[in-house]
């Protein structure tokens, strides 16, 4: 069994000259590293976060220690403080912290990309890539009996209303009851002689000469000795897979591939908010899975136009207390009903209206506002989710509005509209940022071509959800990994 070749603490400067340098070790980075190394390429990966094995995660008992897997401890707010964007920052990236849910890109989205951006990703290539990822990461459809009672509530309501819905596909070993992530499925299986990971290493400078990336400089800091060290990589090919926001940040900071001013533009967030339903009986949501059932009645999968997905979810008390309105003792009274609750998230298939720019300290800042159209989608999503839970027998339903909004029956659904979905009305989270480095055929309005190679720099690729021209309306991990599979095939065929 190959062992991951990873540096986490430093006492010297490093210089490497691999075939490929990948910045970021998330869903795309892990696939790229594995697939390229399988064809004999040497790969160096730079990862800003730390490295934790699954055993490390198992041993962690304090929840606060788990928050170290998240970028900024899961607090990254848009400039106007209206949306919190949560992303992973560790080896494995967001695949370590997310629920491993896998959906294929809806056909309508793919067709739109083809028409609007000239992206002729052949369905067969994509399907092959999906199959390859499916096999590697072990995707299975969740079973009702494994999911837990809280998720069945969404199922009950959907069935009573005749809404299109189903159990999710997940990167999951149902026998061992273990989630799979990109690190265990790919990186740990790569040949350690060909793949080297530098964790706790921030890729900062990308030096381009003669229209080619020549050097990538990573910076590390040893907390114990208080010394800084550098990791200098001189690759033949450079791939930025640091995830949306960070990938744009690297390009902007180094003034790369941006002569058309498109880097950081067209950001989507899949903004989501929650609905909590309280039931008379105990349903022990904490005994089940974190995410399991979906309703796609109003999503692009069913209607062929952007709408919203409803996904059952259940979270630990720390996150639950934030989702529950009210403060202090009143909040505690709600918290005591934790085991009587079911939850669902509304995931809006939003317009790519956000932008990423740099602040004075050269750090990424996100500007994002829910467009009027997206606000309507959000309100419809809240109403439909509340309706589903009432049909499932909920005693009351609490929406994700900042102002306490408790509904007692379906006739009160219009209260949701009265509360609105504008800035400051709702608690909005994003766990699926997409876009920022748009993929397209036209170099005047996109950053990378359909192979994810930047239009402007010969040996520089960007491969992660930041290349999506629009949001895809469903959880993107599976598609990110499939596209990385296609890109690795392209690089393997084109170079060396």
């Amino acid at each position: 069994m190959p062992k991951l070749n990873v540096e986490t603490s430093y006492s010297k400067n490093w210089t490497e000259s691999p075939d490929v340098c990948i910045i970021g070790t998330g869903a795309a980075g892990c696939v790229l590293a594995y697939e390229l190394s399988e064809k004999g390429k040497t790969v160096v990966m730079l990862e800003r976060g730390n490295h934790y094995t699954v055993d490390d995660i198992r041993k962690i008992v304090r929840e606060e220690d788990l928050s170290k897997f998240w970028k900024n401890r899961a607090v990254f707010l848009s400039r106007n403080y209206s949306v919190n964007i949560a992303q992973g920052e560790c080896v494995g990236g967001s695949t370590i912290i997310n629920y491993g849910i896998c959906f294929e890109i809806p056909q309508a989205v793919l067709s739109y990309w083809n028409v609007a951006f000239g992206l002729d990703i052949a369905s067969r290539d994509l399907q092959d890539a999906y199959n390859q990822v499916r096999e590697k990461i072990g995707i299975s459809t969740l079973k009702e009996e494994d999911a837990g009672e809280s998720h069945k509530k969404l199922q009950d309501g959907c069935k009573k209303l005749g809404y299109s819905s189903g159990w999710m596909d997940k990167a999951y070993d149902s026998a061992k009851k273990e989630k799979h992530n990109a690190m265990t499925a790919y990186l740990e299986k790569a040949n350690p002689e060909r793949v080297k990971v530098f964790a706790n290493c921030t890729a900062d400078k990308v030096v381009v000469k003669n229209n080619k990336v020549q050097t990538i400089k990573g910076f590390t800091y040893n907390e114990q000795t208080k010394q800084s060290y550098t990791v200098t990589v001189n690759p033949k090919i450079a791939i930025i897979s640091a995830g949306p926001i960070a990938s744009s940040e690297i390009l902007l900071r180094n003034k790369l591939a941006n002569s058309n001013d498109q880097v950081g533009k067209h950001l989507s967030l899949h903004p989501s908010t929650s609905v909590i339903a309280m039931f008379d009986d105990k349903i022990n949501g904490d005994e089940g899975m974190a995410m399991a059932y979906y309703c796609d009645e109003f999503s692009v999968r069913k209607t062929n136009k952007p709408g919203f997905m409803i996904e059952s979810v259940f979270v630990p008390p720390s996150q639950f207390s934030i989702a529950i309105p009210s403060f202090g003792e009143k909040n505690y009274e709600y918290m005591k009903k934790y085991n009587h609750c079911a939850m669902a998230g509304i995931l809006v298939h939003d317009e790519p209206s956000g932008t990423i720019s740099l602040n004075w300290g050269d750090r990424a800042v996100v500007d994002y506002n829910l467009s009027t159209m997206d606000q309507y989608k959000m309100l419809d999503g809240l109403k439909e989710t509340a309706r589903i839970f009432f049909r499932a027998g909920a005693r009351n339903v609490i929406t994700g509005h900042i102002k306490e909004t408790v509904l007692w029956n379906e006739t009160e659904l219009r209260l949701i509209e009265m509360r609105g979905a504008g800035m400051g009305s709702l608690q909005i989270q994003s766990v699926h940022p997409q876009g920022g480095n748009r993929m397209g055929n036209d170099p005047s309005n996109s950053v990378v071509n359909p192979n994810c190679r930047t239009h402007e720099i010969e040996n520089l690729y960007v491969c992660d959800a930041s290349v999506f021209p629009t949001s895809i309306g469903v959880n993107p991990q599976f598609t990110i990994m499939a596209i990385a599979t296609i890109v690795s095939k392209h690089i393997n065929e084109k170079y060396f």
Partner: protein
């Protein structure tokens, strides 16, 4: 010298020096938040030196241009007094801002320590206080700064006065000087005010997350920690 009221000049020197120092710190906080700059107010303190030097130079220039017939040593004394009070203003403002952490701890205690004899609850509150500080340290500085400034404002006699006035009460004290019941009423007043509940939401987010993250809180809500494992591993 007779043309000028010497006491007015001394008095205005003292007031303007102190206010300039105090407001430099406050302006710095606002700038850090508004511009999303990476410097925290801690690092920003080094900026108070050039800003202070510039303000002092402006003061000296004004003094010399307005009051033309002072002895040199008098100019010097006033200038030094201005500089000294500028430093005092900076220090006081910085200290008040430093109280923000203490205020946050107080709010956590007030919100969650319902039974002082309950050792587990006491430990849970202490854990939450530690963890919330840890979170603040790892947040982007502009957001941490905004939160700390929010705590500072929340605690200020100014905010207490106006928020309580809306609810028909007259109070001219800082939050930390209020009685327990008054503190509770004040928090409730923020939470029920249509303009302030968004701000209190940010405070709630931080302290609520910090509190329920701790194992010592789980018995009270019949949670066994399984969901946490399921989130990451299952």
């Amino acid at each position: 010298m007779a043309e000028y009221d010497i006491l007015t000049i001394i008095f205005s020197t003292f007031i303007s020096g102190y206010l300039a120092g105090f407001m430099t710190v406050k302006t710095n906080h606002i700038l850090v938040i508004a511009l999303g700059k990476i410097w925290t107010s801690g690092n920003g303190q080094q900026r108070y030196i050039p800003v202070g030097a510039a303000i002092s130079a402006v003061y000296l220039g004004l003094l010399i241009s307005v009051v033309k017939d002072f002895e040199f040593h008098f100019y010097l004394l006033l200038f030094l007094a201005f500089v000294g009070l500028y430093v005092a203003g900076v220090k006081h403002s910085t200290k008040r801002f430093g109280d923000s952490i203490e205020i946050m701890e107080k709010i956590i205690e007030l919100t969650y320590l319902l039974d002082k004899n309950d050792e587990k609850q006491k430990q849970a509150v202490s854990d939450a206080q530690d963890f919330s500080k840890e979170i603040l340290m790892t947040m982007p500085p502009s957001i941490a700064e905004a939160l700390l400034l929010l705590f500072f404002f929340f605690d200020s006699a100014f905010a207490v006065f106006f928020v309580n006035l809306i609810n028909g009460r007259f109070t001219l004290q800082r939050f930390i000087d209020l009685s327990k019941n008054e503190q509770r009423d004040y928090i409730e007043a923020w939470a029920s005010n249509p303009f302030l509940f968004v701000a209190i939401q940010a405070i709630k987010g931080l302290i609520g997350f910090s509190y329920y993250t701790g194992k010592n809180t789980w018995d009270g809500i019949e949670y066994n920690g399984k969901m946490l494992r399921n989130s990451y591993l299952a």
